[in-house]
């Protein structure tokens, strides 16, 4: 039953990503890593056998990453405006 080993490895990867997001400098980089986080979460749900949840997580991971990137875009865009003035 090597499935548990796989689960453990994926969880450790998730913890590493969480640490990277907390300690990282750039916001956009954190968002891209966060996209990876939700990908791993999806894999994890599939491994556990929750295919429905994994499907939903895939959809939600996409949508929330788009949200985050658009939010960063709008925040950054305004800051650029401010500096130009």
């Amino acid at each position: 039953m090597p499935i548990l080993l796989l689960e453990g490895l994926l969880l450790i990867a998730m913890i590493a990503i969480a640490a990277a997001i907390i300690l990282g400098k750039k916001l956009l980089a954190a968002t891209v890593i966060y996209c990876g986080f939700s990908l791993i979460a999806m894999l994890l749900y599939t491994v556990v056998g929750a295919a429905d949840v994994a499907f939903t997580e895939a959809v939600i991971g996409t949508i929330s990453t788009v949200y985050f990137i658009i939010a960063i875009k709008s925040i950054k865009g305004k800051r650029a405006d401010d500096e130009r003035k």
Partner: protein, 263 residues
Amino acid sequence: MKENKSRKKLAAGLIIVIIAVGTAAVKIGAFLPTIGDADTPANSYVANYYITNAVKETHSYNIVTAVLADYRGFDTLFETCVLFLSALVTMMVLFGKEKVPKMPVKNLAEDKYSAAFGGDIMDASFRIVVPIILIYGIYVLFHGEISLGGGFQAGALIACAYLLDRIIPSIRMGRGKIKEETALIIASMGAFFYVITGILPMFNGGNFLEFAKLPFGSSLAAESIVKLHTAGILMIEVGVTVCVMGVIIAILEVVLERTDFDE
């Protein structure tokens, strides 16, 4: 310098948290049921009822859908409401307040590479992708009780198709926009359709959301009751789909309104 110091502090705190919780969690984990054991209370009490009776009682081969839409349909109603509420709050907080001043529209033919979100390749390929996503979304909706998927995923897929159409080409062309308020009203109607599906059995002597008493069938034979369950699940899935679609479109329209991709 100061930033580096605070980052070191952050890392030190992180390591302490990991070690402390790790040692505590080893103890806690020992009390929790062993993973994979079929005889734990969590896996044997109510769960077994669902597995053995779901297909017989609701005629939904996907047991998760049966639990979600039928046995615990009331949760799903309010899950839909939470989504609608989040669109509403987004709208209340952001809509019409201090919009970002739009950049003056340049001559777009000249710098079409920088103006669009994607560029030419995306612009060409999305035309093929969008119909496929739409068809897949509808498949997921109607096939939800047999295979994976359901209302939520279908709604999100349909909304994604709309968004691709919205984001990739139309910043240049400005066509095909659903207004924020319209999207919100669509979402509220989706949720309301769910409520109506729940109220209909109450006219027929049943409880709220009791699909077996939906006033569609005339005979009370066992087969027709199972069909009523199928009809009920399908109806609420349609409601959820419409609601989720409206919600995602509304939120992203509100947010896109404030964003320039012209950088």
